[in-house]
């Protein structure tokens, strides 16, 4: 059953990519949205919506990182840091930790703002860096942030993290243990993220990002303030991640440093590479495919193996499996499953 959701969503996104007519595209996305909105009326399986909400959180993360890496061409290997900042913002301000119980909805905005500020703080020292150098610095940032949360035991609960986070409530009604309300929040946030991402792409700012990705020096000669434009990419990308972090923390009702390790950043970058960097439908597909593999296929493979009398934990092999997928993609379809026209041509030229 869960496969059906993923396959339908992936199929619709791919179909939308193939359509040239903007209006038809929009209709298709709206239909998918409506179907997803109605799904809990027919299917009351909480576990399904738990996986779907997780998938949605990763779609949000992928859309956010796509702004930084895909649009502006700034390779960020520490993106999970902003996810952590969003999650910890919720954990510290909506839990018994400091006896602060700010509302979930307010914290969504606050966390997005915090993450954006940290995006700028990270961005500022890296402005002169490019390519591999930038990747190394962002990687460092991605390592530092969970370390800080781990070591500031007094405020963050150290390695154990913070638990018993508040359940969000909507007009006085608590979300409770059900995952369906989170699923709805995630859907709404994705809709918002898509609206922003498409608008940004087709705007002055999006064009400036493309220009600095293509040739930063020439962009500066066109009067583009590359400093401001890059910082905007870092801040906006990070804010998506901050939103995702809040929902993630609230749903789990727990945060701890090990949830935001380097592998999370790698996972999100892999989603972009797999799906097609810079292309919005592409990165959605990339996120859905990897969550499907990670959260559905691998656990099921375990069950099947166990029933056959084998004791294998496929979860332990997930890096091997991503690795194989990524190597395969790089060899046979380096532009990703669903690339933008730009990226496709770029890689064709590079090969030629």
């Amino acid at each position: 059953m869960i496969y059906l959701y993923f396959l339908v969503a992936i199929a619709v996104v791919i179909a939308a990519q193939r359509l040239n007519d903007l209006r038809a595209k929009r209709v298709l996305f709206l239909l998918l949205g409506a179907a997803l909105l109605c799904a809990p009326l027919f299917d009351r399986n909480d576990a399904t919506f738990n996986v779907l909400a997780d998938a949605g959180i990763f779609v949000l993360l992928a859309l956010g990182l796509n702004i930084v890496v895909g649009f502006a061409g700034l390779l960020d290997l520490g993106y999970a840091a902003f996810f952590a900042i969003g999650a910890y913002a919720y954990a510290m301000m909506a839990s018994p930790q400091f006896n602060l119980h700010l509302p979930f909805w307010l914290l969504l905005f606050l966390a997005a703002a915090f993450a954006a500020i940290f995006g700028i703080i990270l961005g500022a020292p890296t402005l002169r860096l490019r390519g591999d150098y930038l990747a190394i610095v962002t990687l460092g940032f991605g390592e530092i942030v969970p370390q800080i949360f781990q070591n500031l035991t007094k405020y963050t609960g150290g390695p154990n993290g913070i638990g018993a986070l508040d359940f969000p409530s909507f007009f006085g009604r608590s979300f409770g243990q059900s995952t369906i309300p989170y699923y709805y929040v995630v859907l709404a946030l994705i809709a918002l993220a898509l609206f922003f991402a498409y608008n940004l792409r087709d705007s002055r700012l999006g064009r400036a990002w493309m220009a600095i990705r293509e040739d930063e020096l020439a962009a500066r000669h066109m009067g583009i303030n590359t400093t401001a434009v890059k910082l905007a990419a870092f801040a906006l990308g990070a804010s998506f991640s901050g939103l995702a972090g809040v929902v993630f923390a609230a749903k789990l009702s727990l945060v701890s440093p090990d949830l935001f390790q380097f592998q999370v950043s790698v996972l999100i970058v892999s989603m972009l590479v797999l799906g097609g960097m810079g292309n919005i439908p592409g990165v959605i597909v990339g996120a859905l495919v990897l969550v499907l593999v990670n959260n559905v296929v691998l656990p099921q493979a375990n069950t099947i193996a166990a029933s056959a009398g084998l004791h294998v934990d496929f979860g332990n092999y997930h890096f091997f499996i991503y690795g194989a997928i990524l190597v395969g993609i790089m060899l046979f379809r380096p532009e990703g499953l669903l690339p933008s026209r730009q990226r496709k041509e770029e890689l064709h030229h590079a090969a030629a």
């Binding site: 064009r207 493309m210 220009a211 962009a219 066109m222 009067g223 583009i224 303030n225 590359t226 030229h349």
Partner: protein, 252 residues
């Protein structure tokens, strides 16, 4: 309009530009010529803000601009092209031109995020101007083609179109005729003249003497980073130091 006073640029021991003073009159077409390695492109890179001069001052319309960041110099009204074309390769021709308009657009972050009516109006007008500029440089038919996929001569013209989009008062052209055939060079000369007609001052670096002599009002000759001559085309043509610099001279 543009005035260099005693500009020197050293790279370690190498003096690429040595105590250069230069005056470009508003509305003129001026050229900088000289053998390879004479420091011509370095002068452009200093004026456009890639390098800071080691000594000397640069004035543009009475503002001292040396030390300004590149994007500010561009916004102040100095646009340029590059010796080795630097277009945004995987952007459509029209998007290249639109990127050139950036400094004159007012959309803020919120406008870009929300596509406010003001943003829509501005984009529409900008697109209109971009089309007009593409027509001006003779590329109206290829607006949606990626810069990378245009023929060489068209890429040179697109780069000029993109530079014009930033509404410069002064346009720096770095070897615009390089790699062009005679017909394309002729068209380029017409284009440069048409640019001046628009009230834009042009300063160009060029090796093609035919073109330089044809379009320039004023020529400055550099050799080893120093100005060895300047004047009208006819004066330059007969200047013995210039001839010596180009053809070499017997060691006394």
């Amino acid at each position: 309009m543009l005035r260099l006073e005693g500009v020197t640029k050293r790279f370690g021991e190498l003096v690429a530009v040595n105590d250069l003073s230069l005056n470009v009159a508003a509305g003129s077409i001026s050229a900088i010529i000289g053998p390879n390695g004479a420091g011509k492109s370095t002068v452009f890179n200093i004026v456009s803000g890639i390098y800071r001069p080691s000594a000397g001052e640069i004035f543009f319309e009475d503002a001292r601009i040396d030390g300004w960041p590149t994007h500010r110099i561009a916004a102040a009204g100095i646009a340029r092209t590059f010796q080795n074309i630097r277009l945004f390769s995987f952007m459509a021709a029209i998007d290249n031109v639109l990127a050139g308009e950036d400094a004159h657009l007012h959309a803020r972050l919120w406008d870009s995020l929300l596509h406010t009516p003001r943003q829509r109006r501005e984009e529409k007008a900008a697109r209109e101007r971009a089309r007009e500029l593409l027509r001006f440089v003779g590329l109206e038919g290829v607006a949606e083609t990626y810069a990378r996929n245009l023929p060489y001569g068209s890429q040179r013209r697109l780069e000029i179109g993109r530079a014009l989009a930033s509404r410069p008062k002064l346009l720096l052209l770095d070897e615009p005729a390089a790699g062009m055939n005679p017909r394309e060079k002729g068209e380029l000369a017409d284009l440069v003249a048409a640019i001046r007609e628009r009230g834009i001052t042009v300063l160009l670096i060029e090796h093609d003497m035919g073109l330089v002599m044809r379009v320039s009002d004023e020529i400055t000759v550099l050799d080893y980073g120093q100005r060895i001559a300047s004047g009208k085309p006819a004066e330059i043509r007969s200047n013995p130091r210039v001839i010596a610099a180009y053809l070499g001279t017997a060691v006394a």
